[in-house]
Amino acid sequence: MLMNLQRIKMYLTMVTNALLRRKLRMFIALLAVAIGATIISGMITVYKEVPEQMGREFRAYGANLLLLPAGGSTTIQEEKLQSVYQKLQGHEIVGSAPFLYERLKINESPILVGGTDFDMVKKVSPYWQINGAMPSGSGKELLLGYELAEKFQVKPGERIILALGDGSWESPFTVSGIVRTGGKEEQFAYMDLKQMQEIVSKPGVISMAQVSVVASAAELDAFTRQMAAEEPSIHPQTVKQIASSEQTVLGKLQALVLLVTVVVLLLTLVCVGTTMTEVVSERRREIGLKKALGADNRNIAAEFFGESCMLGLLGGILGTVCGYLFAQAVGTNVFGRSLQVSVPIAVMSVVLSIAVTAIATMLPVRTAVKVEPAIVMRGE
């Protein structure tokens, strides 16, 4: 046992000193390995994060899930939404805007008016272009669709008369802003949900909700099925235009990142491979000497193997740290948030760099061990 310990100690001395005392050469090899590990850890983190983070960007397209009343009812009780949100747990809900639509009269013509939560609208539909401001919710304010504003010839700040269809209530409202979307919204008027519910005496009731949630088309489909079974009073509908198109574009982006990762990784592999070949071949004389001293092929291979494992470990750790920094740079610059440290990726990149370095070393070593010990005797 003690004898073995002595041998192992000597083995480690040889291996570590081969690295530590041959600074320049090993520094170059270390660099090559570290670059490889940087690519592995950095790019794979980015690759993994693309659907999640870019998915969040795609939420700029607006709601990808509609919650509609079902089972014969034309309205939804507001408190029921909470149970829906709970079922969506695990997916980030960017926003959920409730809407209560009623036909009211503006300047005596019938108009569809929607009551909503404007803070949520900003999150769900960031593309709404407002000339003026959104209603604050405190005063009697109204957001007019662009077509309505053209029709009534009103500008932000002006007042109009809002009335119930049967004429039982009327009140002046200030137009806080005019909204352009290029869609149907331009034909509607919007006001605060609470005010709306009071005016039409429907407290706690909404017609529908638009939900923007970070989830793939498949996940949304699964959710829709689950809802149909568990909550018959609400019918969730996936906005296919948004959900499936998002899938297509994200798929392509991810494929692009993957392809690039593979290519860069290949280059690094070649790089590590040639560096290690170089390292081995410039030590042919040393191999010959060791053989002359009585080393057999196994000894030689074991020493190179040990060196390369250690090199892979050091380079792997160094590269993983650099890769993490790269992923952070991408996270903060592109997605505006920091990415999480993924322990499996870190472990994988270290293990992979060790494996790659070992393989890259063992290939040239296979030929190098064929060196005849006699080369040390011949003059050069």
Partner: protein
């Protein structure tokens, strides 16, 4: 029984180039033999055969009672490890290991590294105080003395020295030769290959090799 006996040994490289022919040589225990001859005469080839680094193509070589015709390549490595201690013209120390570690490498391949014993061997060649220096920090003479210590570390039956003073100045040459003389006095068997007369004269016996043929001086 002789320590080393070569009978009608020949070495033909690639089936065409004849490096050695009809070589007969006997070395007894405690002998000191110098092999001399001009460049390209086959000195190094002979050295490789005696040092168990190359296999001859014809004839018989018996080292310490073992017929080298009968052994495999792996066994040859083992015999080299156990029986031969080698000293080279170019020193050949592993550059990233200290003097004492270089000795321990030889122990490591042979059996168990033992720092105490390695230090004793360095002491023996007068380099105990340089034990922790890298080869690049040692002078040529010092490096060669480390090599000699390394050659002795596994108690070989035969010490092979290939032009051991070829890269040394006069002062260091003397130091190294004194060391060899002392070793021989203690009973070590030594074969040196050289074309320096001074080194040759130090040996007990000289053989001359010319065009692959051996003759007594």
């Amino acid at each position: 029984m002789s320590l080393l006996k070569l009978t009608d040994v020949a070495m033909v490289y690639g089936g065409r180039v004849t490096a050695l022919e009809h070589v007969n040589l006997t070395v007894e225990k405690g002998d000191w033999l110098a092999i001399m001859g001009p460049s390209g005469s086959g000195k190094t080839t002979l050295m490789n055969i005696i040092g168990c680094m190359d296999k001859h193509t014809a004839g018989q070589v018996v080292l310490d009672g073992i017929d080298l015709n009968e052994v495999t390549k792996n066994e040859l490595t083992q015999i080299r490890r156990d029986k031969i201690g080698m000293v080279f013209q170019q020193f050949h120390l592993i550059p990233y290991l200290t003097a004492v570690e270089n000795l321990m490498v030889a122990q490591y391949y042979h059996s168990i590294p033992d720092r105490k014993e390695a230090m004793a061997a360095l002491e023996r060649v007068g380099l105990a105080d340089r034990a922790d220096h890298l080869p690049s920090e040692l002078s040529g003479g010092e490096q060669q003395r480390v090599c000699i210590a390394r050659a002795l570390i596994n108690y070989p039956v035969l010490i092979l020295a290939d032009e051991p003073t070829g890269n040394l100045d006069e002062k260091n040459e003397k130091l190294v030769m004194d060391l060899f003389r002392e070793l021989n006095r203690e009973g070590h068997t030594i074969i040196t290959v050289t074309h320096s007369d001074k080194v040759g004269q130090a040996a007990k016996r000289i053989v001359i090799i010319e065009h692959g043929h051996l003759r007594d001086a």
